[in-house]
């Protein structure tokens, strides 16, 4: 397939995942806020931290109060993680590649785009927000499912999956990171009673709560949550699972040696992680390194398949 199209499919996968993650993040945090004591107001700022958009955000807004954060994450076209921006990108990428996608998917994407454009302003109000975000998530699931069922699982589909799993792994590390920041940060004094609720929130942000309860029988605690999110092989949003998916997808592509080598290396790092030890001392740095490794996978994917170089051809 064309390199240009492969790149578009990859970004399509990433933005689909990003739109869904953003919607879920806002939803879960809004819910959590209802549970927490009134003094904890930093929770909305946490969303900005998670998505790594501090710089863009504070350029425009003075403080991270609810209204600002919500507007920024839902409707701000300048924020590449906002639902509006992600969905515009989904549409643009799909538009350029619509000949490789089933046409029903294109119709769904159009519908999603129209829906978001029409309703995003309603969602700035609290009482309409939940419904809007739920709808966005449903649309995303519908499109993902439609592609899964109706699109040939060939190269194009592989690139969507690569994009999705890289984005997903990245988001999981970010959310795990934020959980720790709350607990470690001495400025935010969270009563012990709420620690449990916080970790539940971390799990819920990743739709992981129920699966966690099924697989980890202990009560919710930080170490087990981090271990589950990093190393579980079966939960689709766990980093280890995402990496295995990446490994499988990349394996099927031509010229995959370089990328495979990096992915395998990162897999080893995650598998050999001693969660208890890392939790004690340096979880934040560990996650930082992991994110750098994920970025390296992205760079190699770009180099191997999206950038044309005559060298690739000579190798064959």
């Amino acid at each position: 397939m064309l390199s240009r199209v492969a790149e578009r499919m990859y970004w399509f996968g990433r933005y689909m995942e990003r739109a869904e993650n953003t919607a879920r993040l806002i939803n879960v945090n809004a819910n959590l806020l209802l549970d927490l004591p009134r003094m904890i107001k930093t929770i909305w700022g946490g969303l900005i931290d998670i998505t790594g958009t501090n710089e863009t955000f504070y350029k425009k807004y003075e403080n991270a109060e609810e209204r600002n954060v919500i507007r920024f994450m839902l409707a701000d076209e300048k924020n590449p993680g906002s639902i509006c921006a992600a969905i515009s990108m989904i549409k643009e990428n799909a538009r350029i590649t619509r000949e490789v996608m089933p046409s029903e998917a294109w119709e769904q994407i159009n519908e999603l785009n129209l829906y978001v454009k029409q309703h995003v302003n309603d969602a700035l109000k609290r009482d309409r927000r939940h419904e809007f975000l739920d709808d966005v998530i449903h649309y995303c699931h519908q499109i993902t499912g439609l592609l899964h069922a109706n699109m040939s699982h060939g190269d194009a589909y592989n690139f969507i999956r690569i994009g999705r799993n890289l984005e997903r792994a990245d988001m999981t590390t970010r959310i795990a990171d934020i959980g720790c920041m709350f607990l470690i940060n001495p400025q935010v004094d969270i009563p012990d009673a709420y620690e449990n609720i916080l970790w539940m929130n971390v799990l819920r942000s990743l739709s992981a709560y129920q699966m966690y309860r099924q697989y980890v029988h202990d009560r919710v605690n930080g170490e087990d949550v981090v271990d589950f999110l990093m190393r579980d092989q079966e939960f689709p949003r766990a980093v280890a699972h995402c990496l295995e998916e990446l490994n499988l997808c990349v394996n099927r592509l031509p010229n995959s040696d370089h990328s495979l080598r990096i992915i395998t290396r990162v897999q080893r790092i995650v598998n050999e992680m001693d969660t208890a030890k890392v939790m004690d001392t340096r979880l934040h740095e560990f996650i930082d390194e992991l994110q750098i490794n994920l970025a390296e996978i992205h760079d190699q994917v770009t180099k191997s398949w999206f950038e044309y170089s005559p060298l690739i051809n000579e190798q064959e």
Partner: protein, 481 residues
């Protein structure tokens, strides 16, 4: 709904007779429309608008430095053509396409038609679309124009004329196909009552046509659609056709011509050979080594690869020489010269301004004529005499005098009408018809075509870039019983 206030005013209406009776093929449709009240018919209209939105059927307008995607304008009342009439049109288009291809092949090789003085030599020398770079080339089957969109119009007396042949990068076929899909969603009941000839196999026929001209005799030659990109007004169509044919949609930057003078596309596996390019880029942007040096849309070396016979281009560069509006006036002569036949579909009578006598006539009667530049498309730069001001007329006269070769003039053909849904009424609106013809070692004509409709009352301008709409077009075969 009723047609009591419908005004035909001496024009030809495609669905109604002058006495407001349904034409025989339109009986069931009109009966059905009459059975709906306005509320019901508006409901269908909204359903169609929604379908067009969600199907993402758009066209792009370039205006004030910005590209805007607009929803495709579509009117829910279809146009009907009985198959007995269509058979003749189909034969006529076939005949025309064969003659035009003989002409192009002749022009770039022996130029017999000029030597035999059927066509004046000056005509070529001044043609904007004649490409001297194409001389001496012999494409497969001697075919240069593989895809043609012809504009047909019908006069008051019911005669169908060819208004022009679009041989460079004719567009509209995707809208023709999508219109049918929308109509099926909106009026499924009518498809039970009528034998409407399906047109959905156009992409298959297009793919077969393109495959047949592959320089390598393969079962599955690599066919690609070359687009200028998402900002082109017809990008929707490029993407649609690539998708429907299962071909790659490529931009110029996706292709390279290697040292072996073959064309390759850049893929995730490296370079991969391309056999046939259905190009939707104008000649002058195809290859910066030969034509427009600043073009970033094309592929350097493409002409080299084509001349060597390593890649097929459809339509071939230079095919546009026959879609010049002055050359058009000679098509009936070509049909006689190459095929020894009489034209089945007549041309609109035309005056070439390059002929001094005819130029005088044009200038004297400019208020009653349509004056068109020879090489514009999309309805740009033309003057519709009876609908113009004195000032516009004198400006046009000045331009014609300055460059007579560049203009032709035709009497105003009134254009037939079709009932069209307006604000809570049904009124006649003018239409034309663009069928598409494919040519390689065989010929295919779409059953029907894209009906374009001038949505403004009384207007004759049907181009979508200038406020035109469209209709589904049904070629109907008689009941099976």
């Amino acid at each position: 709904m009723n047609f009591k206030n419908y005004k035909i005013d001496g024009l030809y209406d495609e669905l109604l007779t002058p006495r407001l009776q349904a034409r025989s093929s339109a009986g069931k449709l009109l009966k059905y429309l009459k059975s709906l009240n306005y509320e019901e018919i508006n409901k269908r209209k909204y359903a169609a608008e929604l379908a067009i939105k969600t199907m993402g059927i758009t066209f792009t307008v370039y205006s004030e430095g910005e590209n805007i995607d607009r929803e495709w304008p579509y009117d829910i009342i279809p146009r009907i053509i009985p198959s007995r009439e269509w058979v003749k049109v189909e034969q006529g288009l076939h005949q025309r396409m064969v003659a035009i291809n003989h002409f192009i092949d002749d022009i770039y090789n022996d130029q017999k038609i000029i030597k035999d003085k059927v066509i004046p030599k000056e005509l070529l020398r001044s043609s904007k679309n004649f490409r001297k770079e194409c001389c001496g080339i012999k494409p497969v089957f001697g075919v240069w124009a593989h895809i043609c969109g012809s504009d047909l119009i019908r006069d008051k007396d019911g005669t169908i004329y060819v208004l022009e042949d679009n041989l460079r990068v004719p567009s509209g076929v995707s809208y023709m196909l999508e219109n049918r899909k929308v109509t099926k969603r909106v009026f499924p009941e009518l498809f039970e009552d009528y034998n409407i000839i399906p047109m959905g196999d156009y992409p298959t026929n297009l793919f077969d046509t393109l495959s047949s001209i592959s320089p390598r005799p393969l079962d599955y030659p690599e066919v690609v659609v070359l687009t200028p990109g998402i900002y082109n007004s017809a990008y929707f169509e490029h993407s649609f056709l690539a998708q429907q044919m299962g071909a790659e949609l490529v931009e110029g930057s996706d292709l390279v011509v290697a040292d072996d003078d073959c064309v390759y596309m850049k893929t995730i596996e490296g370079l991969s050979r391309v056999d046939v390019i259905y190009r939707r880029i104008d000649d002058l942007f195809l290859d910066p080594e030969v034509f427009n040096k600043d073009s970033t849309l094309g592929v350097p070396g493409l002409m080299r690869a084509w001349k060597k016979g390593n890649v097929a281009l459809a339509n071939a560069p230079g095919a546009g020489v026959a879609d010049d509006k002055v050359v058009y006036t000679y098509v009936p002569d070509m049909i006689k010269y190459y095929l020894d036949q009489d034209p089945i579909i007549p041309n609109v009578p035309s005056y070439s301004c390059s002929n001094e006598k005819e130029l005088k006539h044009v200038l004297a009667n400019i208020g009653n004529l349509v004056v068109k530049p020879a090489n514009e498309s999309g309805g740009y730069g033309m003057l519709v005499g009876p609908h113009s001001t004195k000032k516009q007329q004198s400006e046009m006269a000045k331009q014609v005098k300055a460059n007579p070769r560049n203009y032709i003039a035709q009497p105003v053909i009134s254009l037939s009408t079709v009932p069209t849904l307006c604000d809570n009424t049904i009124e006649p609106r003018h239409v034309d018809l663009r069928p598409f013809t494919l040519q390689s070692n065989r010929t295919y004509v779409t059953p029907g075509g894209l009906t374009r409709v001038a949505l403004v009352k009384g207007s004759l301008i049907v181009n979508s870039s200038q406020g035109g709409g469209s209709k589904d077009t049904w070629v109907i075969s008689p009941d099976k019983d």
